[in-house]
Symmetry: C2
Subunit: 237 residues, 2 copies
DNA sequence: CAGTGGTCTAGACCACACG
DNA sequence: GTGTGGTCTAGACCACTGA
């Protein structure tokens, strides 16, 4: 026994994980490493992909837990809707936390994107989107101070800048030019989303545009794979 | 000096990398690790993100090299076009390699997607897309044997199943339902794309549909971040 | 406090490219 | 053979949780 290849290790872990009922705790990392005759480092490396797929969840100080089926937040990319609305459509409640609102000066790149005078004051709104179970996304919006004041953010903010702008209704929104990337979690992001540093995230970089063609919101969104499903219908060119 | 945090390490590496001209070789990993007073494991972990961003390239047996600006293969997701065509648009030549064509029986999930009798014969076409410099994508297409025979694949195949189907012209293609994911490279994928195991990849899972609504191609595509830029225009819902 | 996952270290060996 | 990156090991310490 013990074909000591990485693939064998992952297959063995799959067997172990799927044999457990949802919610149960796996043996500790040192115990599993000993049982599978690999070092703890190798074990942890092999488990990364299972966490990415949403099959397990690690909690520092507590242990590693098997996750059951997770409600997938599904969205077509043709339409821009807030995560709150997408989640509500499948009967899932989401909350937001770790909210920070800062005023800062736009750097050159941002000023160019938004067609602002260099050094303009902008608002940066950051927050984590959470389900009952865990944080699943991290969102950052950057807007000119004129578009959204600190007061407005402190009174009616539900976690979605888009919904807030739509409710406010002053700027007629047309579309969002969204760039799609894959990225690894930075140390800060990893901490906020409760994943490991370097774990795989899906990232959107978007500019929200009014029907006059003005960019009034630049946003960064980071999504945990395994909790979201984004799709698009592509015409054959 | 030597604030030994991971962030400090990455900042220091950024300084070192950007100070080098494109194409030059960095000091070896043991040398860099000693110089920065960290273990080789930590050094390598910190360098992962630089490779993901396309700033460096590691070559086993040779060294780690600084990469200059890379031609970005840019595409809107509304239209489905082959990578060859996208690359040609920016004046970039791509080739394909590691081609494998196998006949196999469709498993249950695939049979359901393509509405085939369970156990039908399908063709699986896999290949790596390469620029001058390096492999940048891995593509897998799965089609019913009736749609594309082995002969057709061996004669006129240029790397794009889409272009082949369009040239053949028998099936009027309508659209592709594409799911967008972020994933970590499996050991096989890492080897084929010459990246590290677990490195971040952008993944498309797509079903190509005729105007009769029949799925005639199921495909998996894996892209190296830093070489592609995908975007979409989203209407406000 | 003890036990968990998160990080880091020093060292070893393997796979690969070049001379 | 020599030197490179790729992998794995054994062990240590930190950060966090709950008793």
């Amino acid at each position: 026994m013990s074909n000591h290849s990485f693939q064998w290790l992952q297959a063995e872990l799959t067997r172990i994980i799927t044999a457990q009922p949802a919610g149960s705790r796996l043996p500790s990392e040192p115990a599993l490493a000993k049982q599978l005759k690999v070092s703890r480092a190798t074990l942890r490396e092999a488990m990364r992909s299972f966490e990415t797929q949403g099959l397990i969840r690690r909690k520092q100080g507590l242990g590693t837990f098997v996750i059951g089926a997770v409600p997938l937040i599904d969205s077509g990319l043709e339409i821009l809707e807030s995560i709150e609305i997408l989640a509500g459509r499948i009967g899932l409640k989401v909350t937001f936390g770790s909210l920070t609102i800062q005023q800062e000066k736009a750097d050159e790149a941002l000023a160019k994107i938004m067609n602002l005078p260099s050094g303009s004051e902008v608002m940066r709104v950051s927050r984590v989107i959470q389900t009952d179970e865990r944080p699943v996304a991290y969102l950052v919006d950057i807007l000119p101070r004129e578009v959204l004041s600190e007061q407005e953010l402190q009174s009616g903010f539900t976690g979605s800048v888009l919904d807030l702008l739509l409710r406010k209704g002053t700027a007629p929104l047309a579309s969002s030019r969204t760039e799609i990337k894959a990225t690894g979690a930075s140390p800060e992001l990893a901490h906020l989303l409760e994943v490991q540093r370097g774990d795989v995230l899906l990232q959107f970089v978007a500019n929200l545009i009014t029907n006059q063609g003005k960019v009034i919101d630049h946003s960064l969104s980071y999504f945990l794979p395994g909790y979201f499903s984004f799709h698009v219908n592509r015409r054959v060119g």
